[in-house]
Subunit: 328 residues, 2 copies
Amino acid sequence: MNVSTAPPLARLLEPIRDELARVEAEIMRMTSSRAAPLQALLDHVGKFAGKRLRPALTIVAGRMCGGVGPDHHTVGAIVELIHTATLVHDDILDESAMRRRVETVSHRVGNETAVLLGDYIFATCFKEAAALEDRFASRYLAEIVGVVCRGEILQVHHRHDVEMAEETYFRIIEDKTAALYAAALRCGAQLGGASAEQCDALASFGTKVGSAFQIVDDILDLTGEEDSVGKSLGTDLEKEKLTLPLLRLRERATPGDRERFAELVRSHDPENRREILGLLREYDAIESARTTARALVEAAHHELRAFPESAERNLLVQASGYVLARDR
Amino acid sequence: MNVSTAPPLARLLEPIRDELARVEAEIMRMTSSRAAPLQALLDHVGKFAGKRLRPALTIVAGRMCGGVGPDHHTVGAIVELIHTATLVHDDILDESAMRRRVETVSHRVGNETAVLLGDYIFATCFKEAAALEDRFASRYLAEIVGVVCRGEILQVHHRHDVEMAEETYFRIIEDKTAALYAAALRCGAQLGGASAEQCDALASFGTKVGSAFQIVDDILDLTGEEDSVGKSLGTDLEKEKLTLPLLRLRERATPGDRERFAELVRSHDPENRREILGLLREYDAIESARTTARALVEAAHHELRAFPESAERNLLVQASGYVLARDR
């Protein structure tokens, strides 16, 4: 498909608007507390509300595999809140001031409260998952949160590692980002009563699209404008996080440029961002990373071949185009 | 009972040594990972291993209510690891360098990794709980983690609040500390097949003893010696955390001393600790807090009246004496 003409996500999700409204009601229910200071924090976090892409995947997977019931709305809300909790904690890690044009919790009320609030939201997710009739989601989602944390721990571990293998990069983004996309789809399929093959195919679609999403995110952190992306940028370089464009630059550079690149990364000087961007352009490193993201999305489409043509299958294909086209 | 002659906890727990060894094996199993950087972190956290008081409560409650099975060992391990995860996150909050004579995770590898490691351990706990045949523990423990977080959030919210009500203090310590003691006992009873009355009585015992434990902890933070207690002290004053001895001092002080007290608390000057200790002595504020802890333990014993005399009931009584007598 032609990526540059991808319709906005909101229009794509129009056919499942009513289902997403039910997910929203579940999110509101789960983030209610009688303790006023806690409610104030939960209300603030509510302002980060994103595109609800993950619950949309749960709904769509359900529709593709036997239908959507109330548990889909609950699980969609849980998956979204797991994502929210990781964002609250990520902002501590990144020391970011802004997230989706809203002040981060850590910046607003301090790291201590941000740690506790993230923990509280995680606990809420697990409580809600444990209350579902079907026991699958409860076991599986707790495992996935562990995988997400493992990916982030590996990422921190490999910071400053200018020699990090590309294989390690892909393992990290599969764990920290793609695993939750895969989980959103797998839960939706499983709750709909899908076969093991259908569950695996949709999860695999999620892994590939989720990895592509992270690659695009990493590109935007290097090349985007804060105004348009709506969050603090340049944090990867600041933290010496070697993302795919930087790894591609390292692979392609002459020994001299490679040495200069390592120096620039280690310098922590924001002034050097311009020179790094120059090198990225010179070696077509951004384009190389973008090509990999595109290939992942195409491979994801291939996972859908066993499903008959349908509005939902088409929505997944279009949504994956959005992942490539987005500028924020 | 005469508190000053309370036997050491290790001797008290001798009769359930074999059960605790099974809990230990479960903890080892749950904290194994094939990802080497993660395993190194889990090994470091293993060095914090405390007195295993919470799993001991699960075992004892099981024995008092129908017997102990493999699920008791699993739940005991989960409760202990929930406690461990909160410690890893607390050390970020407290910016402490030492915990049980071991360097804290946050001090050793930074706040980012400490946040993620705590999250990973929480996720592991919920995964293990969800895998149990009995669904009670899974739902209940997730709820309790939420309660613990809520208590800590309230505590941070009321910092610098020199006018905090005593009632708020008790709500905070019930949530942040006592809830997990109560949970350890309630799970043990429930898995043993106890009646609702038995479960409630043991949980209530846990709430009261857990609150007493926290009061003693708060006293030690003011009066203890770091060498003997084995963790960073004086952090409550540093953070303007109004604990029970300070609240009692505030209630009893003359208007002039009360004003001086508020000044001293707000000054953040470690040199002022000596003057605050002087005021605490002058108004018998430490002794007043200790009397409340003692009354809570006595009320806890009263909760055990419906259980017949047994070695296990006696162990609970003796363990609660340890809570009062401990100097670390």
